[in-house]
């Protein structure tokens, strides 16, 4: 277990009750602002002492109020990347990066300076001063600085919140590489669904100081009711796929997922590369017959596995498509009219636009 948290904290009127365990390589703490995400990472990082409870990271007890254990932040070995980079203004980039190294025992200095500098693309900045860096560069240096202190866990508190879309797009690939190639598990605080859909492997949902759900990213993203403040538009399924081939003549790329093939606009990725696709529930249409003579290119066959009980106008219908799980948002009226029920074979029409730009593993130009 990478993170095991069970705690209660009170600060003025605000109450935080958090209880979850995560095994994920990248655990996202998701929730609207004011839901207690930052308080929770501050407790994990040792900046706040919780009123009561336990915090374990990689089997090590960091806080246990019953036993009177509170490991001070400088002995936790938990890296923290803050919203604002918090680089030391009196040190140049190289010294900022090496700051944590002064306090790490020699035999525990594993992180390779050159490798991390290369991974984050900050080699040309080493002799610069923090005040001369752009926002995106600062955050990359801050990530590098945290990694070079050889942390057992890396906390990222909305590190991209202050950046514009272009700068975010510049940093996402680095976080993905850390997730896939690095050996430090991460906790990412975010209130953006596209962001966690792209990055998270495990999601903890917070609302008003309560953990309302936690589980693997693909499980959590399927359920609209877990995102009360963002609305049903954000519900969707995560599908892992590989690039099967490019159809240069049409400017298209064909992806292979367990559910079948998906056609998207040309991706700048080699054949065989893996990508993540998010299929939003509102962009899926269900049909009892195999649709023909339609302009939509993406039709997946599947079986209804569950229909959400609902009193509202729309209902979430979960499909099993060859192992991949999809969610379609349809009206209650359609459910009745078509006689939808679990076990019924159906066809899912995916409006191509549903291939979420941010949710695609790597930068992709436009939608189709």
């Amino acid at each position: 277990m990478i993170i095991d948290v069970d705690l209660h904290h009170e600060q003025g009127d605000f109450r935080l009750d958090a209880r979850f365990r995560s095994e994920g390589r990248l655990t996202a703490l998701f929730g609207p602002s004011g839901s207690g995400k930052t308080t929770l990472v501050n407790i994990i990082g040792g900046l706040i002492r919780p009123s009561a409870g336990r915090v374990c990271v990689k089997g090590r007890v960091l806080v246990d109020t019953q036993q009177g254990i509170f490991v001070p932040r400088h002995r936790r070995r938990i890296g923290y990347v803050f919203q604002e980079a918090r680089l030391f203004p009196h040190l140049n980039v190289r010294r900022n990066l090496l700051f944590g190294r002064w306090f790490t025992p020699r035999r525990e200095q594993i992180a390779d300076f050159d490798a991390i500098v290369g991974l984050l693309g900050i080699g040309h900045l080493l002799s610069r001063w923090p005040s001369t860096l752009s926002g995106g560069e600062r955050q990359r240096v801050a990530i590098g600085r945290a990694l070079l202190s050889d942390p057992h866990l890396l906390l990222l508190d909305e590190p991209l919140a202050s950046l514009d879309e272009d700068r975010k797009a510049e940093i996402y690939p680095y976080i993905e590489r850390l997730r896939d190639e690095g050996n430090v598990p991460m906790v990412l605080v975010s209130h953006s669904v596209p962001e966690i859909a792209r990055l998270a492997t495990f999601i903890v949902v917070l609302n008003d100081g309560q953990v309302t759900a936690f589980g693997s990213a693909s499980d959590i993203l399927k359920h609209a009711r877990l995102f009360p403040r963002t609305g049903p538009a954000e519900t969707g399924a995560l599908v892992e796929a590989r690039v099967l081939r490019h159809e240069e003549a049409y400017g298209l790329t064909v992806l292979q997922a367990a559910a079948g093939t998906l056609t998207v606009s040309r991706l700048d990725l080699p054949v065989g590369a893996s990508v993540r696709v998010r299929l939003r529930a509102r962009d899926i249409i269900l049909s009892l017959d195999p649709p023909e003579r339609l302009s939509a290119l993406n039709v997946l066959a599947g079986v209804i596995s569950a229909i959400e009980e609902s009193f509202g106008a729309s209902v979430d219908v979960t499909l099993d498509c060859g192992g991949d799980s999809l969610v379609a948002s349809v009206t209650r009226k359609s459910v009745e009219r078509l006689g939808l029920k679990p076990g019924l074979p159906v066809h899912a029409l995916i409006k191509s636009i549903a291939f979420d730009r941010e949710a695609l593993g790597s930068a992709m130009p436009g939608n189709m």
Binding site: G45, R73, R76, F82, E84, R86, P89, H90, W102, W129
Partner: protein, 230 residues
């Protein structure tokens, strides 16, 4: 340079020595007290705050007389120092340095406190998460960030020591070669017929030293700033 008489030279050298010693000796306690007053909330905090600022508002002669009572040969502290350690402060240049240090202390502490106030505590938190013990955080993050304030405080303390008169003359008197600093020498010159020349020369020296101190501090502060904002 023979435009100063040997006595005048002695007064200048002594003043510089007293001011430098006063400034240097009060630096570490100054940083500690500023840190305690700015960051700490402990029993006796207000007492310490008042005590530190007292020399700023009391007549210097009163401070000098209090020093004489406390640190004189027969005073409660002075007698212990003299008997146990053989240190005598009254009517010695070291006593002048003590008087100057105390008179300049509130200025030093205020300057450091002001810059501590502006230090971004979040940077210290960040240093903590990188594995730095609070003592190292202070040494490697806080201290460099308040360096401009420390420099400003040192200059103020030095300038105050160069000009200190009332507390010094009350505590250690006006002994040429031992406790006669520039201000007391100027005072003596103005009391004797024909002393105007000496008083004027020492005044010019005093002005020159003050300008030099300001210039050096400006130069150091600019170097520090340039490092931050380069």
């Amino acid at each position: 340079m023979d435009w100063l008489s040997p006595e005048e030279w002695t007064a200048v050298r002594l003043s510089l020595k007293v001011a430098l010693v006063a400034m240097t000796a009060s630096l570490l306690p100054g940083i500690a007290v500023a840190y305690a007053l700015e960051r700490g909330r402990f029993w006796g905090w207000q007492v310490l705050d008042v005590l530190v600022h007292l020399p700023l508002v009391l007549p210097p002669v009163v401070v000098g007389y209090a020093l004489l009572l406390g640190f004189g040969r027969r005073g409660p502290i002075g007698s212990v120092l003299a008997e146990q350690f053989g240190i005598v402060l009254s009517f010695r240049w070291t006593g002048a340095a003590l008087a100057c240090a105390i008179m300049g202390f509130p200025l030093l502490v205020r300057a450091i406190r002001l810059s501590l106030e502006t230090v971004d505590r979040k940077l210290e938190d960040a240093a903590g998460t990188l594995g730095a013990h609070p003592a190292w955080v202070f040494l490697f993050v806080t201290l460099p960030l308040i360096l401009p304030g420390i420099i400003a405080g040192m200059v103020l303390s030095f300038a105050k020591a160069m000009g200190e008169f009332g507390a010094t003359i009350t505590f250690v008197s006006n002994i040429p070669g031992e406790t006669q600093t520039i201000p007391s020498a100027i005072y003596t010159f103005t009391q004797v017929p024909g002393g105007e020349g000496g008083a004027l020369r020492l005044t010019l020296v005093s002005v020159a030293i003050s300008i030099a101190a300001l210039w050096i501090s400006e130069w150091m502060a600019r170097r520090v700033r340039r490092r931050f904002l380069a």
